[in-house]
Amino acid sequence: MEDNVVLTARGISMTFPGVKALENVDFTLRKGEIHALMGENGAGKSTLIKCLTGINDFEAGEIRIDGIDGPVKNHSTRDAQNVGISTVYQEVNLCPNLSVAENLFIGREPMTKLHTIDRKSYNKRSQVIMDELGISVDVTQNLENYSLAIQQMVAIARAVDMDCKVLILDEPTSSLDDEEVEKLFVLMRKLRDKGVGIIFVTHFLEQVYSVCDRITVLRDGHFVGEYTVEELPRVKLVAAMMGKDLDDLAEIKKEGAENAINNPIEISAKGLSHTGTVKPFNLDIHKGEVVGVAGLLGSGRSELARAIYGADKANTGTLSVNGKDVKINQPIDAINLGMGMLPDDRKAEGIIADLSVRENIILALQARKGMFKPLSRAKQEELADEYIKLLQVKTPNREALIKQLSGGNQQKVILARWLATNPDFLILDEPTRGIDIGTKSEIQKLIVKLAGEGKSILFISSEISEMLRTCSRMAIMRDGEKVGELDRELTQENVMKAIAGGDTEK
């Protein structure tokens, strides 16, 4: 093995029933480098990572690790840890009903002399770890009390805190804000300088250019090439991933969106709140309008939407739809009023893992129609096929279980579920989370098109540029409170200023 190489994978092949996920893939990781692993949804990135960490049994090829003679075959994440590979998987897989501290130390708890778990010491150490990352949490609280973004940070903290030669991060930034991303990058650079080799998967191209040294591109389970960052500017990277050039992203036109504010009001919230998550707020959304919700991590963006939809039942205030006061006790009430909500936590609140792609797509529509008015099988298949095509879902067929799809493709299926209900008001909480760059622009176009058809949309994203492209107005959240709205001069800078706490009240 070359001197500075810490991990090599050669000729890796892996097949799932009906899918050749990897075919003869090579990968080389050097000491002290941050290596981006790039590819479209379903290209095989997560599969390759799971081969390295022993979750997947690959059928051909070999993996070698610096300091170990002969090929290495891991059989579990623990094996991988023992040879110095620490991993943050795409879907957060911590224990929601354990405390943050327990999650950080599970499997490697510090012991007292009496061989009992030393709670005090690990609570203290956990607090230090999280403080160092600049994340304000109470480590004795259960993990489920925190947002997906915080959970993602905890998963990262746990992986980083372990002594490792190789650190693998599979889309760790998918629900983080710029600020947390920057914190993560500082951490990654520090580890790189200590000689750790880091594999980094992301669908945000700018992140690649701000931290990575090298790029490996996969396409349809095949190795396309390995490049240094300098060799592969953005346009070429996209071309390598897609196998063709991308239409320009900035081409989205918000036709007529400026005038949407003059349309009748679809949704009007007055003094709506949910104890402990979001303080009373007023919000009007007009027909055909795309309203963004911007704010820092934990500012109550999702919570605002959940209070409207009844995911968290509002404690105070009134909501009216089309000028009529309504009472929403639970999501089905909202659905019956023509609403829909794509939640941000795909694994916990989105997918029904063991059901097929078809069933996952028609679920909400069927729920609205009710149990005794089943959609015919032919209708179900027609809908499923329609949306698989529209959103370019990569699946062997419509009867594949959703859990067998790649992360980004699962996301597309959940989006399809809501599009299939043809709602008048759609809440999209991080709709493009984990979706590749090509499809992302398609989805943004779709959102603008829906608004053009007179639908109202509440759009939440940690990526401000994405909201700027689609929204005509933004609600600004801070500390669980809606502090204002921006409807003119929507620029990155203005929005950043507003969410950080300038004077935005108008």
Binding site: A311, M341, E349, I351, I352, L363, A364, M371
Partner: protein, 361 residues
């Protein structure tokens, strides 16, 4: 070669593989036993026509006996499957509820305080429907506790597990009520050539299958069992669906109770449905269903229930006494359930992979 491999894979992923293999195993034991004893090797499968005292003709044979005797467990297993799927828990009260329903039905038919009657106090249908309704009420009670009060299913159903049998005894004024009326014996007897309990099981299975498949109920139950949070966001009323599965489970317990009581034309509170909840739960597990909820196969559970009965009948045929039978039953069940468990399956998977690797090298 390639083709053969593919079909083997298909067989391996067939979800009824386990229950069917278990059933085949039991049959094989019977054949071996018969051969060893110099009987007709197919004695187990032989079905003959027999004249009854009432001048009717019925089917007779070991298989028929198994299908007849296993029916209560099979009916219970239908309801249990739904409960397990939606709530990832088991309803341990079904045996006791059976007994309560039987007592209530017999009390209605005989009149309160009467210990033996040959004339019915109310029309047969009223008594039978009353008994079944009692099962539904018990199901509503369990369902309320589990779905709306969020009590662990095992704990919630423990209440009726211990109380239902006693309530039944109260209803019968501490007596064993006999309904010596030919019409009541019908549910545990024969209809034409076939045992009525088997026919009732088949009707239950067909109706519930239609309900699950022709409405969205089947998908909703599985969805709630797999991911209740996501189901709620998608517009399902998880609580109501879980509640409904417990009601259905109670309904089937009621039907099973009537069958069991009709067999002995009495309400023997202390013995009807005794330990039958265990058989029902086992049947679900044997059927290849995960007790962790989610996806389910009704056919698997029903085959599982009859497999358990086949094991019992076989053991008796082998001369194992009724007192010792549970020991052998336990051993067999341990083996079957272990084969199905994750570690064992992984072990075989790894072993076959290693073999493949060796072949390649």
């Amino acid at each position: 070669m390639k083709n053969g491999k593919l079909s083997w894979k298909k067989i391996k992923s067939w979800n009824l593989l386990l229950p069917v293999v278990a059933l085949l195993l039991v049959m094989a034991v019977n054949i071996i036993y018969d051969i060893a004893n110099g009987n007709n090797p197919l004695a187990f499968f032989t079905i003959t026509l027999q004249q009854t005292t009432g001048n009717g003709t019925i089917l007779y044979g070991r298989i028929i006996d198994i299908l007849n005797r296993g029916s209560e467990a099979a009916i219970l297993a239908i309801g249990m499957t739904l409960v397990v799927s939606s709530s990832a828990g088991t309803d341990i009260s079904v045996g006791s509820v059976m007994s309560l329903c039987a007592s209530f039905c017999c009390m209605l038919l005989a009149g309160y305080g009467v210990s033996s009657t040959s004339t019915l106090a109310v029309p047969l249908a009223v008594g039978v429907l009353g008994g079944i309704l009692m099962g539904v009420v018990c199901g509503m009670f369990n369902g309320t506790l589990v779905a709306y009060f969020k009590i662990q299913p095992m704990v919630a159903t423990l209440i009726l597990f211990s109380a239902a049998r006693a309530i039944g005894l109260l209803l019968c004024n501490d007596l064993i009520v006999y309904v010596r009326n030919g019409s009541y014996a019908f549910f545990g007897g024969f209809i034409g050539l076939l045992p009525t309990p088997l026919v009732i099981t088949a009707i239950c299975a067909v109706i519930i299958t239609l309900l699950l498949k022709k409405t969205a109920l089947g998908m909703f139950i599985q969805s709630v069992g797999i991911n209740p949070k996501a189901s709620r966001i998608a517009g399902l009323n998880s609580k109501r669906i879980i509640f409904l599965t417990y009601v259905l489970c109670g309904l089937f317990a009621g039907i099973a109770g009537i069958v069991a009581s009709s067999r002995i034309t009495s309400a023997d509170s202390n013995n009807i449905g005794l330990y039958l909840e265990m058989d029902a739960i086992l049947a679900v597990a044997l059927g290849g269903n995960s007790l962790g909820g989610g996806k389910f196969s009704l056919a698997g559970s029903i085959i599982g229930a009859y497999t358990i009965q086949a094991i019992t009948t076989t053991l008796y045929a082998l001369g194992v006494s009724a007192a010792q039978a549970p020991v052998f039953k336990a051993v067999i069940v341990v083996i079957i359930v272990a084969i199905q468990s994750e570690p064992v399956r992984n072990y075989f998977k790894k072993a076959s992979l290693a073999k493949k690797a060796k072949e390649v090298a």
